[in-house]
Symmetry: C2
Amino acid sequence: MAAPFEYQVLDLTDDEVAAEAAVFGALTDAVRRLNEATLRTTVDHDTVEQVRQQVEELTARLEKSMIPGSFGVSFTKGGRVRSYGNAVVGLRNPLAVPLKIVQDKEAGRASAEFELNALYEGPPGQVHGGVVALVLDQVFGEAAAAGGTPGMTGTLKLRYQLNTPLGACSAAAWVDRRDGVKTIVKGELRRADGTVTVTAEGIFILPRWAREQLAEPGGTPPQYE
Amino acid sequence: MAAPFEYQVLDLTDDEVAAEAAVFGALTDAVRRLNEATLRTTVDHDTVEQVRQQVEELTARLEKSMIPGSFGVSFTKGGRVRSYGNAVVGLRNPLAVPLKIVQDKEAGRASAEFELNALYEGPPGQVHGGVVALVLDQVFGEAAAAGGTPGMTGTLKLRYQLNTPLGACSAAAWVDRRDGVKTIVKGELRRADGTVTVTAEGIFILPRWAREQLAEPGGTPPQYE
């Protein structure tokens, strides 16, 4: 059974990858700040109209040459994996927080500290419940991978115990146990004062195509960056 | 027990609200397109640098006057509720898809049809599992509200059955049953060909402050737009 999607192999050295990451990462960070200003601005309508026109001009410049479809996941020749388009961690995705997830392979654990600003709001002043799920899904997947058993989300169950105010947050997840191709991961979200606000449990399943790939000589689970 | 957060009442007529929505909505749409171009562009590094500088200038213009903190939820004098900042449906939030959710109050049901582009990617070419959760949490909450029992997410359990390719999707949720202050909602995500890819069940809980507000003469659940 083949992978249901293609991974791209890029003809770039690690230095070229670093140079590209610096330039495109800086643009993405700038666009993240524009996103927040777009939401929060109270300037007059004429100014908004002028800014809109200029945003459209800049978009047209970038659109002159684009990858077809989505960014996908690519490997460099050095074997490094780039998931720059990822909605949670993607270096080149302006929607991504972005989360910088730390993996602890010995403990089968992943964690991240991050800020959620006004763009991630649900109830007034609070993190959107769905954003909590979005962030935890990614951290859970990376905990399963850290534990040596990467997988796709099979189930995810979230229990919202307290509100999570916008601002500083942290998330952690760890492999609780394994059952055949299933890796059971548990984890939580904490607000700035360290109080756990949401707990969750997920089952991650290693797809058959990935099991075959791992069984090949030298086959190792991909390490995302 | 007071609401844990403040709702803002705006001194605007419905016409003024419509004019404001048109101007700021157009800017937000333009920034959404810039987000996608930022992710997918392959123009040269010099062009990226020039675009970044201009994005920073536009951001500075918008930042000259901003609401403090997050957008929150506001009521107009006409009693309409605006959740423009919401991470899934917000008219002024460039991260929001945005979902246009249709509520069916008689059936206690909510649904939406929408496109998820490259910005919402997890596995190559596929919708991020956490984005599925983000979208469903919002649709589920609006189903509970459509059924007359709005609430905050208590639990949300998702079962990922098949991949969801990027592109056209639809989501639906309905009130399954009620148990005291709990509203049990069920729902699903479908990909373009109509196949259900993810099913979910959630419990939505009416907070005590909202129960007290609803019990007041003329108290009605808020209708979001």
